[in-house]
Amino acid sequence: MTVTGGNVVSEDLAPDQSLLVDRRKLGDPVFKGFSVGSGMLILVILAAVAAFLIVQAVPAFVADAADLPYGNTWGYVAPFLFGTIWSSFLALLMAVPVAIGIALYISHFAPKQLASPVAFVVDLLAAVPSVVFGLWGINVLAPALVPIYQWLGANLGWIPLFGGNVSGTGRTMLTAAIVLAIMILPIITSLSREVFLRTPGLQEEASFALGATRWEMIGQVVLPFGRSGVVSAAMLGLGRALGETMAVAMVLSGGRNITFQLLTSNNPNTIASNIALAFPEADSHAVPQLIATGLVLFVITFVVNMAGRAITSGHGFRLAHKRAHKEG
């Protein structure tokens, strides 16, 4: 604000105090100390998150199963672990193709004036709180899907995925996965879009010049270029889906039944959703076990996110490598 103009000089240099040597000497180390300290604080916070979760969860892992309210902790968490991975996998399966489509639309199909409003609309989806998604899922989406589920169950029931008793409420694994897919759509879209936009223009033009149609150009240039970026975006989306709590807690009629069936009302719950449902009523014996399941979730999301980041940075490395190669 007062970067330019004479008033900075007169304001800062005229009063002698601001030029006093001791103040100049003190200011820099203090300010640097705050900056470095904040960086360290990040480390401390993360260490604390891991440490407190581990400390609170230890009793759940070492105690005799008979003394624990939910029995053996690994046995307790297994169905939820399955539910978490299964629902997130399904969500990813649905979200990735749509996200790639939208990202391509924004980067290579939409008219210039339309591209940023379209991106904004997709970002709006990311802004909706998860509890609102839950409310919408249980009230609007689930009932709307019931007729489709009944049709699937009646006509395609021989496929194991669609087997079992079709839920009358629509609060099934498939509904939960659809809601999750909608929720992770924006992040996958925006990351993919950015990679697609970075496609070298010369390569695109070269492809066009060889007579490729737009779609052929995308297949030859844009998708190969953006592949690792899309994979890493999908991994980050997966991380989101794994940890999503409220929408699943409200939409899914979950229990401890390990099954691949999509349309029944007897589904495996997810770890996060189970914590949200059980925690408010949990007593002091149950809390450590719930925290232990939270620790499992933390480890999984950590691994998935790291895998995503590793792919991105590997991608950046390869690009830099290629460029250096070309220039060298």
């Binding site: 970067v3 904040s38 960086g39 407190f52 970002d123 149609t213 998935v304 980041r309």
Partner: protein
């Protein structure tokens, strides 16, 4: 523009180039016309089976249109262009598909939230309210208190970390901090809640309080503030810093007087967007803050249990544990959801406006 205008025109005729360009191409309005026809046919088919509805007609008409346009383009333009056309409409279809839930969600939230979107909802609490009436003043207040505290905690930490990453950090430590911020971004919100709960139980025993909720939200908010601020501070041109150093200004005064004022609009906008991100968080508050029907503005865990309600938690409990008549509780839940969506949208708009309106003109 029809292909049979002058099929046997002699070479050198001035119409020849135009004709050869349009020959073997579908006329301009084929796509739109075919789309309308496909949806109409789908609607007619559905009506024939006695189950007409608009959504079904569009869902059935879409694939019909794709098949139709492929066949038509294949016969006139050849396989490659036909594939290109279909790919284009599949991609546009993906965008339309994403619009469906957004529009439906906004419509439901607005139409179901409006009945109780009244003065009472914002001025009264739910204390001693059974059935109809009452409001969410306590929940809105709780959200303001907790989000405010989380902002107060995370902005200094996040901003200074960003300053460290851009201005001071180098080599290994910088990489480590960047990595840790990435890790922090990926922490599931419920895990942040469990951490805050575990922290407070370790220090003062099992407790529920607004402060614990604020700590949980801080864990979630710090990485957003770091990311957003870092990006903006990095944009400040080095020439500004060097000009300042050349005048003999110390490093920290350069940061405070040159770097931060130049990037302030981006930082403010980043903080607002970070608030918008966490203000709708439910799970961590469910775990850490408990639930009450009364107004409580004291976030300290006085005497262990000092529950406070935030708006998202209010929405969750109104919907999942209704009393009688149920509708009164559902109405309050939807209005709460509407207020939440409004808050988030307004914050998003303000954030983007601030970034645009007060952006410094760096490229002078």
């Amino acid at each position: 523009m029809t292909a049979d205008a002058q099929p046997d025109a002699p070479l050198g005729d001035q119409y020849m180039p135009r004709m050869s360009l349009t020959a073997g191409q579908l006329p301009k309005f084929t796509d739109l016309g075919l789309l309308v026809i496909s949806i109409a046919v789908a609607a007619a088919l559905l009506a024939l089976f006695g189950s007409f509805n608009l959504v079904g007609a569009i869902l059935l008409g879409g694939p019909l249109f794709l098949v139709g346009i492929y066949a038509l383009a294949f016969s006139v333009e050849g396989r490659r262009r036909a594939v290109n056309r279909v790919a284009r409409y599949v991609i546009i279809g993906a965008f339309v598909l994403a619009l469906v839930p957004l529009v439906s969600l906004l419509w439901e939230v607005i139409s179901k939230g409006l009945p109780r979107f009244d003065w009472q909802f914002f001025t009264e609490t739910k204390r001693n309210v059974v059935g109809e009436g009452g409001g969410a003043a306590h929940a809105i207040m709780g959200t303001l208190v907790v989000t405010g505290l989380a902002t107060v905690f995370s902005v200094p930490v996040g901003l200074f970390t960003a300053i460290y990453l851009v201005e001071y950090g180098k080599g290994g430590p910088k990489k480590v901090i960047t990595f840790l911020v990435d890790v922090m971004t990926g922490i599931p919100s419920i895990v942040a809640g469990l951490f805050a709960y575990a922290l407070f139980s370790a220090v003062i025993g099992p407790s529920k309080s607004g402060l614990a909720g604020a700590v949980a939200l801080t864990v979630l908010m710090v990485p957003y503030v770091v990311r957003n601020s870092e990006e903006i501070i990095r944009l400040v041109p080095n020439s500004l810093r060097e000009a300042s150093y050349a005048l003999g200004v110390t490093r920290w005064r350069t940061i405070v007087k040159v770097v931060l004022p130049t990037s302030i609009s981006g930082i403010v906008s980043g903080v607002i967007l970070a608030i918008a991100r966490i203000i709708g968080e439910t799970a961590p508050l469910l775990v850490t803050m408990g639930f009450t029907d009364s107004m409580n503005t004291n976030a300290l865990p006085a005497g262990g249990m000092n529950p406070m309600t935030a708006l998202p938690v209010f929405v969750y409990y109104e919907y999942t544990r209704p009393g009688r008549p149920q509708q009164a509780y559902f109405d309050r839940a939807w209005t709460g959801a509407l207020v939440l969506v409004l808050i988030v949208m307004i914050l998003n708009v303000i954030g983007r406006y601030v970034a645009k309106r007060f952006a410094p003109k760096i490229n002078r």
